[in-house]
């Protein structure tokens, strides 16, 4: 469905017919604080001790910002919409992709390509047509964050990157609202409530109090690289929705951190967290005083002066593009050239450096699996008389593998040379430079590639763009994942 038809759908939606029924509802509110139908609709939660009618009234007046409408945001939004939260803000700049549907349960085949914020809004209005939803397709950044989020009494972090996590924490501290933060990867999940009120003027720690220094970007993986099970994002998203309801109804307001692993026994662990840090640049003494001063002077309250992306080590690399960057002449092979070699019946030592699980999903027929870690442990064991082509999913790890193999090749030659013994294979290869090393003994079939030495040690190259490029450029029936 495209955006236009979504809007058309919106226009006929019961939400828009509010005007007509307004008269009836005003009559209800004279006697009862909730519309008549809500007593039945929300009765199952209103009869809970500690929730009650007041809990529902609180929810109906609450406004919650859900940042990220992905694996965590979908279950969060679904439960909060169903529970009757007054206003929901959905913030997501991404569009729905087929690879999202495995876990992002508000989106569907029908909304592929649609902005996630709008796709989610459409799904929520099917659950609860009276919801007030603000769907924002603009990315949240330091310049716009405060104005976009100011109207909300609670922020839920359902994002997937480090800079936004720091930004949302700073926004929550600056606006004085709690932050319910979720994260999930592989079979692991984490839940934490930051900046939680703990009584008169006392607040729990913020994200920066616990993690003052961001991790090196090379130690941070994404769901695309590491994988994630749909139910795991569902567990954490559902917990976030529960925490939000607990906070808004006043059932419980303690700062908490919970970690989950689907394979651990027991699977959940609750953690006692440190208090707020006095030296924290977001919620510590100096920052609190700065904000008080800004308020007193009638100025706009500001975020800490931080370039969030740089603070977290620069932008996340686009690994698909990185994998296609051309390297030194003769060190990289294009998918089409590899196909040509194989079609010519050349023997090629194709090494796939992905892990065995990924290798078993799909691989080139004549390739063998040597996980990068194994290859780096003893690269010389994988040198071959044939040309070697190293591959992986996108063409990044394969570069590391190919570099290690080439280094091993050089070391082998140096060792042979220093030994002063009769020249071995590597020496003789130089004679055959630039053409197939016919009759050099073994069943060697060299390739005339960019002056790489031929002979008993074939040249080592990596496949530009990895198996994804193979699928795009050579064989469109080769699965991508």
């Amino acid at each position: 469905m495209d955006t236009e038809s979504l809007q058309a759908h919106d226009n006929v939606h019961p939400l828009r017919q509010e005007e007509e029924s307004k008269g009836d509802r005003e009559k209800d509110s004279e006697t009862y604080p909730l519309p008549l139908e809500d007593y039945k609709r929300y009765g199952r939660q209103m009869i809970l001790d500690g929730f009650g009618l007041q809990g529902q009234v609180n929810l109906s007046h609450a406004s919650i910002a859900v940042v990220g409408a992905g694996g965590l945001g979908c279950p969060v939004l679904q439960y909060l919409a169903a529970a009757g939260v007054g206003k929901l803000g959905i913030f997501d700049a991404d569009t729905v992709d087929i690879s999202n549907l495995q876990r992002q349960i508000l989106h569907s085949e029908v909304t592929l390509g649609m902005p996630k914020a709008l796709s989610a809004k459409e799904a929520l209005l099917r659950i609860n047509s009276r919801l007030n939803i603000e769907a924002v397709t603009e990315a949240i950044t330091a310049p716009n964050a405060l104005s976009l989020l100011r109207a909300y009494s609670l922020i839920l972090d359902c994002t997937d990157n480090v800079p936004t996590r720091y930004l949302l924490s700073d926004v929550a501290v600056t606006l004085g609202v709690p932050l319910v933060s979720g994260a999930a990867q592989r079979l692991d999940g984490q839940l934490c409530v930051y900046n939680m009120v703990q009584g008169e003027g006392v607040r729990g720690p913020c994200y920066r109090c616990i993690f003052p220094t961001p991790p090196n970007p090379t130690t941070v993986g994404s769901c695309e690289e590491l994988g994630v099970l749909g139910g795991v994002t569902g567990v954490i998203g559902s917990l976030q929705a529960v925490e939000a309801v607990k906070i808004l109804t006043g059932m419980d307001q303690r700062p908490t951190m919970t970690i989950y692993n689907a394979l651990s026994f027991p699977p959940f662990r609750s953690i006692r967290l440190r208090p707020r840090r006095e030296a924290c640049i977001a919620c510590g003494k100096d920052a609190t005083e700065r904000r008080a001063r800004e308020r007193a002077e009638g100025l706009e309250v500001t975020l800490p002066a931080v370039d969030y992306v740089q603070f977290c080590g620069g932008p996340t690399p686009d690994w698909e593009r990185e994998g296609q960057v051309s390297g030194q002449e003769g060190e990289r092979m294009r998918a089409g050239d590899l196909k040509q070699l194989l079609d010519n019946g050349e023997q090629v030592n194709i090494i796939d450096v992905r892990n065995p699980t990924e290798f078993s999903i799909v691989h080139l027929p004549s390739s063998r699996n040597v996980p990068l870690k194994t290859l780096l442990a003893s690269p010389s064991s994988y040198l071959s008389a044939h040309p070697t082509v190293v591959t992986c999913r996108l063409g990044n790890d394969s570069k590391i593998g190919a570099d290690a193999l080439r280094k091993a090749l050089v070391e082998e030659r140096v060792t042979d040379g220093l030994a002063g013994e009769e020249p071995k294979a590597a020496e003789r290869t130089l004679e055959g430079k630039g053409r197939p090393a016919e009759g050099s003994g073994a069943d060697v079939e060299g390739i005339g590639q960019a002056g790489a030495p031929l002979g008993e040690r074939g040249p080592v190259m990596d496949l530009v763009g990895g198996l994804r490029a193979w699928s795009f450029q050579v064989d469109s029936t080769f699965p991508q994942y």
């Binding site: 990220g68 992905g70 694996g71 965590l72 945001g73 972090d157 359902c158 994002t159 997937d160 990157n161 480090v162 996590r165 979720g182 994260a183 999930a184 990867q185 592989r186 692991d188 999940g189 984490q190 616990i210 993690f211 003052p212 220094t213 961001p214 991790p215 090196n216 130690t219 941070v220 993986g221 994404s222 769901c223 590491l226 994630v228 994002t233 970690i259 692993n261 394979l263 651990s264 662990r269 609750s270 953690i271 006692r272 967290l273 440190r274 870690k373």
Partner: protein, 118 residues
């Protein structure tokens, strides 16, 4: 005083991948260790030159004996790298004195890498 202490170590949030993909480890550590956290098995602690095995020593021990990947993915400057939270019996280690917490027999130390996916 016993000459060794037994503790349980658990890795979470993907850190287990650095430790032979094993989440749970039972360790026996010397009760008294060198002040400089030298983890060599035959090291002799001279009288007055030792301290009770603490979390800082444990970090060095894990790096030297169990870690199977590049050290910087786990340890940095004598402590854990940014983005790793340490728990001492389910309590944030900052409340327990961080690296200086003296390990006791039966303690459970958990190392958690923060997740960022959503």
């Amino acid at each position: 005083m016993e000459s060794t202490i037994s503790i349980k170590v658990e890795f979470s949030g993907g850190l287990e991948l650095l430790f032979d993909n094993k989440r749970s480890h039972e360790l026996a550590l010397p009760a008294v260790v060198p002040l400089n956290n030298d983890t060599k098995k035959d090291v002799v602690v001279a009288e007055g030159q030792g301290k009770p095995a603490d979390v800082a020593y444990l970090i060095a021990y894990l790096r030297d004996h169990l870690l199977q990947e590049r050290a910087e993915l786990f340890e940095e400057g004598g402590t854990v790298r940014p983005g790793i939270l340490v728990l001492v019996n389910d309590t944030d280690w900052e409340l327990e004195g961080e690296g200086e917490y003296a390990l006791r027999d039966g303690d459970e130390i958990v190392f958690i890498s923060t997740l960022h996916g959503g």
